[in-house]
C-alpha cells in the first residue's frame, strides 16, 4: 500500500515537473523577439556557452580522432585494409562520437554552468528583483541562454568531428604512413552527405535542445539555497547525460536500422 502511494507520489511529481519545464520553456521562447535588446544578450551567452566551450571541444575532438586512428590502424592493418582507416574514423565521428561526446562535454561544461548561474541568480533574489522591475526573467534570462545553447552545440559538434578527422589524419597519414590521397578519397566514397553528415547534425540539434532545456529549467526551478543549487547542477549533468545516451540509441535506430 505504501509502495503504491509512493509510486503515485513520484509519478505526480514527475508529471508536474515536466509540466513546469514545458511552461518555463514555452513562456521563455514563445513571444515576439525584440532584436534591439535581445541581440546583445544572445551575443553574451553565445560567448559564455559557445566560445568558452571551444577549447574542451577542440582538444578532446583531436585526441579522440588520434586514438581512433591508432586503434583502427592496428586492427585494419591485420586485414590489409588500412585504406579503410579514413572512412572508419569519419563515420565513427560523424554518426556517433561527434554528436554524442560533444553533447556530453557540453552538458558538463556549459549545462552545469548555466544551471549554477541561473540558480545563483534565483538564490540572490536577482530573478525576483527583475520581476519586480517589470522585466520578465524568463525572457530576459532564460530565453537568451536557451537559444545560445541551442545554436552552439551543433556548431561545436561539427568542429569536434572536423578536428577529430584532422587528428586521425595526423596519426594515420603523417605518423603511420597511410597514403594521404587514399585516406581522403576512400573516405569521400564512403561518407554520404544525407545519411551520415545530415543525420549527425540532426542528432546534435536534438541533443542541444534537450541539454539546454534541462540546464535552464533546473536552474530556474532549483531550491534557492547553496545545497539546492549544487543538487540542481548535479542533476543537470546526470539527467542530460543519460538522456543523451538514451536518445542517441532511439535516433540511431530510427536513422540507420533498415
Amino acid at each position: 500500500m505504501q509502495q503504491l502511494q509512493l509510486l503515485g507520489k513520484n509519478t505526480l511529481a514527475l508529471i508536474s515537473g515536466l509540466g513546469r519545464a514545458v511552461i518555463v520553456l514555452l513562456s521563455a521562447i514563445l513571444h515576439r523577439p525584440d532584436f534591439r535588446k535581445g541581440t546583445p544578450l544572445l551575443m553574451q551567452q553565445l560567448y559564455n556557452v559557445g566560445f568558452l566551450s571551444l577549447v574542451i571541444i577542440v582538444v578532446s575532438g583531436g585526441f579522440i580522432g588520434m586514438v581512433l586512428a591508432l586503434q583502427g590502424y592496428t586492427i585494419l592493418v591485420g586485414y590489409g585494409a588500412e585504406a579503410s582507416l579514413g572512412p572508419m574514423v569519419a563515420l565513427a565521428l560523424l554518426r556517433e562520437l561527434g554528436p554524442v561526446v560533444s553533447a556530453l562535454l557540453f552538458a558538463g561544461r556549459a549545462g552545469s554552468a548555466l544551471t549554477a548561474e541561473i540558480g545563483l541568480m534565483k538564490a540572490t533574489e536577482q530573478l525576483s528583483s527583475l520581476e519586480m522591475m517589470a522585466v520578465d526573467p524568463l525572457r530576459r534570462v532564460i530565453a537568451p541562454r536557451f537559444w545560445a545553447g541551442f545554436i552552439s552545440l551543433p556548431l561545436l559538434a561539427a568542429i569536434f568531428s572536423m578536428v577529430g578527422i584532422l587528428g586521425a589524419h595526423l596519426v594515420g597519414v603523417d605518423w603511420l604512413g597511410v597514403d594521404s590521397g587514399t585516406f581522403w578519397s576512400v573516405m569521400q566514397s564512403q561518407v554520404d552527405f544525407n545519411k551520415d553528415i545530415l543525420n549527425g547534425i540532426i542528432k546534435s540539434v536534438v541533443f542541444a535542445f534537450v541539454v539546454t532545456w534541462i540546464a535552464v529549467y533546473k536552474g530556474y526551478d532549483c531550491e534557492p539555497t547553496s545545497e539546492g543549487i549544487s543538487r540542481a547542477t548535479t542533476s543537470t549533468v546526470v539527467q542530460s547525460s543519460l538522456l543523451i545516451l538514451a536518445l542517441d540509441f532511439i535516433l540511431t535506430a530510427l536513422m540507420f536500422a533498415v
Binding site: T124, S128, A134
Partner: protein
Amino acid sequence: MISNEKSANSASLVDINNLTFKRGERVIYNNISLSIPKGKITAIMGPSGIGKTTLLRLIGGQIRPESGQILFAGNDIPQLSRKELYKVRKRMSMLFQSGALFTELSVYDNIAFPIREHTKLPEAIIEKIVLMKLEAVGLRGARDLQPNELSGGMARRVALARAIALDPELILYDEPFAGQDPISMGVIVRLIRSLSDALGLTSVVVSHDVPEVMSIADYIYIIAEQKIIGQGTPEQIQQDKSPLVKQFVQGEADGPVPFHFAAPHYQNELIKNSPVLGSALNSMSSSALSNRGQI
C-alpha cells in the same frame, strides 16, 4: 471599484482587505486588513518567520493569496492580468534584503538597467539620471565598481539607488537594517527618511529592528500569529498595553510568545522514548530531592 479609487486617492496607496494566505497547510495570514498611507513610512514588524517578506511579495504580485483584496492605487493586484501587473509594477519597486544587484553588471549599469529597460532615453540623459541617483545615496564615486567589490552596506545603497531610478510611487524595503554595522544602519535610516520626505515616496519597511523602526516610521503594524496584534504611531506602540506588543517591543525572551516552540510534555517525552532513561531520570530526581533535603 469607484469607491476604492476614491479611498486610494484620498489617503492610502495600498489597501489590504481580508487577506488570507496559506503556504501548503500552514496559515501565514488569517484574514488581515491594513492600509498604507500615501507619502508616509509604514513599518511592518514582527518576529522572524511570520512571513513579513511574504507580505511584500503579495503586494508585488509575485504570489497570490488564498482570498482577499490587495489594492494598489485602486488596482486589485491578484486579479490583474500579466500585462496589467507588469504595468503596475513599474510604479513600485522593492529593495531586497541581499540587494539583488546583477552580478555581471557594474554599479553604473545596474542603476541604468531599469531606465534602459523601460524608457528609450538617449544615453546622455540616462547618465545624468544615474549620477543623480548615485549622488542621492552618496556613492557617485563608486560608479565603475563591480557589485562584488562593494561592502554589504554599500551594496544596499546601490540597490536603493536602483530602486528609485524610475521614481516609483511605492518602495518596499525588505529588512533594510538586517546585518548592517551601526554606521551603515544610520546611513540607511537617514536615506529612507530623506527619500520619503524629499520625493514624497510611500515607503513600506519590513523589519524586526525595533529602535531603528521606531525612529523613522510614521505608522507601525505589528504582526504575529497570523494576525495584526498592534498598530499605531511609534508613541502609541510604546504605550501599548497588550502583553504581546510589550514583549516584542522590549525584546523579552519569554511571554505570550513562548520561549519554547510548541512541543509535547518534556519529561513525558524523555521517559517515553527510553524506559531505562526514564527510571534513571526518576532515581536522579529522587536523589536530587534527597540531596536538597540534606542541604
